[in-house]
Symmetry: C2
């Protein structure tokens, strides 16, 4: 085994010394609310490829609520890891509402969490599978309901991925804070 010491990358490369992911994101609120509720969360991420999980993990104490997650970048992993049915992938594709919803359920069940949150979409720079850059599907699965939302975001690759991460955290926080309410603050099932 090789052992090493490293000089600080933050000092050497002028990288941010403070976590740029949790700045402006409701990650601390989410961790606090989940902790108070005694509940846990897991992720399934394509578009963001780990950003949502990494942002939650940026909060000290996150281990009480973050179970883990699945990065399902390749389409076939959305099935084999994430639990999306072959039928949905064949008929609707990797960037679709049903895919996001099934990924959220897959994250929840495969990681043994109370809540599952999933993101799939197009970060750019090019359109994908007939979807414009900025198309984002967010799936949320909880103890009592699932829902899916579609967003149209603007900006560059990073901005779209960061904004999708913030939206996912915010919408999950809304669900956790009001677990008996359905999408958009109304009772019932999405779409």
């Amino acid at each position: 085994m090789v052992r090493g010491r490293a000089r600080s990358i933050a000092r050497r490369m002028n990288a941010p010394a403070a976590d740029p992911l949790i700045a402006g994101a409701p990650a601390a609120d989410l961790v606090r609310t989940l902790t108070a509720a005694g509940q846990t969360v897991a992720t399934a991420e394509s578009l963001t490829a780990g950003l949502v999980a990494a942002t939650i993990a940026g909060v000290p104490g996150a281990s009480a609520v973050l179970r883990g997650g699945l990065v399902v970048y390749a389409t076939d992993l959305k099935h084999s890891l994430g639990g999306v049915s072959d039928e949905v992938l064949e008929t609707e594709g990797p960037v679709a509402a049903s895919t996001a919803e099934q990924l959220a359920v897959g994250a929840r069940t495969r990681c043994g969490a109370d809540w599952g949150v999933a993101l799939t979409g197009v970060a750019g720079p090019d359109p994908q599978d007939g979807h414009a850059v900025g198309t984002v599907f967010l799936g949320l699965a909880g103890p009592k309901h699932t829902e899916v939302m579609r967003w149209k975001l603007r900006g560059e690759r990073w901005t779209i991925r960061l904004e999708a991460t913030h939206i996912a955290l915010r919408e999950l926080l809304r669900c956790v804070a009001r677990p008996d309410r359905g999408p958009g603050g109304q009772d019932g099932q999405g779409e």
Copy 2:
């Protein structure tokens, strides 16, 4: 399904408009080298909880080489998702060389990638399982060998997680660029 448009979070919250993860990291070099080699990568992340996968995904064209990954924050997911043996978890714990090595193999095999990269460690603010803050184990698994490295990093939670991410990308790039060489540039197997 709820549909929405969002104002730019980057503009609204003074969040970074450019990807702060790939700044200073060899992510683009790694994607280019893997693409040229026709090879793929997958991750298993505890300490960084998705940062390595998300950093690779920040590079346009990453979908040619990034298969996906596993966020194995909870200890039991290191076994059930990541493939670490119960024996290793019981005797060495979640923060250990053998755990990192088995996670790298697990990432590679479970995601169907040529290379697996894994990180487990202590980001702080508190020590964990008898390990000081900044203790990081990096596992690398490839077509011809596996290796594990231990690092002692300094700094805050974010700095440690970011630096571990950079180290993982750099060491993976070294392996991919010289696939017949073992750890530390020498032929053979890591300790």
